[in-house]
Amino acid sequence: MEDSKSIIKNRIEKKKGRISQAPLYIMVLPAIIIVFIYSYIPMAGIVIAFQDFIPAKGLFGKQTWVGFQNFVFLFQLPNSFRIFWNTIYIAVMKIISGLTFPVIIALLLNELRHKWYKRTVQTLIYLPNFLSWVIFAGILVDILSPGTGIINKMLEFAGIKPIYFLGNPKWFPYTMVITDVWKNFGFSTIVYLAAITNIDPTIYEAAYIDGANKWKQTIHVTLPGMKAIIVLVATLSLSNILNAGFEQIFNMYSPQVYETGDIIDTFVYRMGLINARYGLATAVGTLKSVVSCILISVSYYLAYKFADYRIF
């Protein structure tokens, strides 16, 4: 019995050894080439940050090298600190609210006892996530408009003066945070709900017999059961601290709110593609990439260490 098993095993091993690895290399080759061209060459293109770049001469043409001049110029710009601050401020608010709100919603959803009701709620709150930011922003611009928007009509009805959510620098960052949560909270609850359903139901029974009410069960059973995934999501969101949400802000901001709403990515877009200051824009982008790369590495390391998370 043992013998025949090992004979088969041997035969498989032999066969495996004989089967050529060449097809595997041929399979990955197209992906390797495309990634090389569109991911690795742009990485090398960071040299633009150290040049007085003239597009006509080409990406790797004979450009004039200017050393760190672009970076120095960047730090002398009166608004560079402001842009950096806006980015962090908006991103941190989004990370905190984007973390706590979905956890609370998952806990509340879990308390719904009618399955059909729960499923309907889930279906509806996941939907906005699937709309593009163009569509969602289009809706928001309409309903938030100070003159004709329905939100301000409702505020007016309640006796509150119309608020220019997207045109007032004071309101703009908060509008961005709230609308971002609005679009994404439903979808973010999925992982937390999955974590809750993985908790062993006998623990709840034990807690109930020991006299724990719903509230105590939530604090002492559900939340500890979700701890691992919450820590994981929190750690990984650290790497997003320089991403305040380009697609969203780009579609809703205007020169009136640059003061509080301009972020690194929108600034790079305007500097680079609108004003054709390639060197300067790449310098900003490079700084962001380097910091982001460090943050991502740190957060993946922390996630690996504390939550035993691996990408693959």
Partner: protein, 297 residues
């Protein structure tokens, strides 16, 4: 086990059920509101009387949009993008994930190649060098610019790779004994048994291509090459007004019932419509997909 409900719990339940209803409505009503505006008469819309039900029902805004050549052209480009993008993305995702799902023993340089791909998730050249690269490879103003640079979605490759790994090893081994090579094993055995995983990733890819707008905006110099969402970006959120200059709008009868706002609303709704239509079918899959991709033990 029967659980007795206390008064506090009952109050909580009433609150909770109401609150969840409120949240659901907040996610869906804006869309209903926009739909109502798009179907209403201009005068009523301007007076701010439309909330959730169209008043002065008419389809003129939709008629106006659907006869607009720019809209049709952008829609055609998006269809091309979807057809090319989905097939290229899926082909490369499957072909890349298969070798990487092997052990180092069966695929010698696996670790190195995996890192080669992972690094691009961690570090990138940023917007300008990317733009210059696409320009240098002469893809600007073609539909290929929207398809080729993103042809290898690394995140999906990782999902697919994990999916392949979860398949029983015996499948591969018995095929090998029967003399199958890697190509046969991949297309005749792995792909047919992975339909659930492939369907999930295909849907994500399709939604991604439908919703993409920024690449169209920067990689197309001529607005007539914009895919639908990029076109919508310029007309819904841009500064251009849609009415007034075109010849169709000169028909004063039409202009009496439509305005910029009703036309914008109908475009918003049309841009969201395919998502709303496929969403119910998609939902079954994506929860699994998300959980598969994020929670791994």
């Amino acid at each position: 086990m029967k659980i007795k409900r206390t008064l506090g719990e009952r109050i909580f339940n009433v609150f909770n059920y109401t609150y969840m209803l409120f949240l659901s409505l907040i996610c869906i009503l804006p869309l209903v509101h926009v739909l109502a505006i798009s179907l209403s008469n201009k005068a009523v819309v301007d007076a701010g009387r439309v909330t959730l039900i169209p008043i002065g029902f008419n389809l003129e805004s939709y008629k106006y949009i659907l006869t607009k050549p720019e809209f049709i052209r952008a829609f055609t480009i998006t269809l091309k993008r979807l057809a090319l993008g989905i097939s290229i993305n899926m082909l490369l995702t499957i072909m890349t994930a298969y070798p990487l799902s092997k052990e180092v023993k069966a695929f010698k340089h696996r670790t190195f190649i995996v890192w080669y791909f992972i690094i691009t998730m961690l570090f990138g050249g940023g917007l300008i060098p990317f733009y210059m690269t696409v320009k240098a490879t002469k893809l600007m103003d073609t539909v290929w610019a929207l398809v080729i640079p993103g042809a290898v979605p690394i995140y999906n490759v990782v999902l697919m790779l994990n999916f392949f790994r979860s398949l029983p090893k015996e499948l591969e081994e018995s095929a090998m004994i029967d003399g199958a090579g890697h190509w046969t094993i991949l297309w005749k055995i792995y792909v047919p048994v992975s339909t659930a995983g492939i369907a999930t990733i295909t849907l994500f890819t399709a939604v991604g291509h439908w919703n993409a707008w920024f690449d169209g905006l920067i990689l197309m110099n001529k607005p007539e090459n914009y895919p639908l969402q990029s076109y919508l970006q310029t007309v819904i959120l841009g500064l251009t007004t849609m009415l007034g200059t075109t010849s169709i709008a000169e028909d004063w009868k039409v202009l009496q019932v439509i305005s910029d706002r009703t036309v914008k609303s109908s475009q918003i709704f049309l841009g969201a419509l395919p998502i709303i239509l496929v969403y119910p079918f998609l939902q079954r899959y994506f929860i699994k997909g998300i959980v598969l991709g994020s929670v791994k033990q």
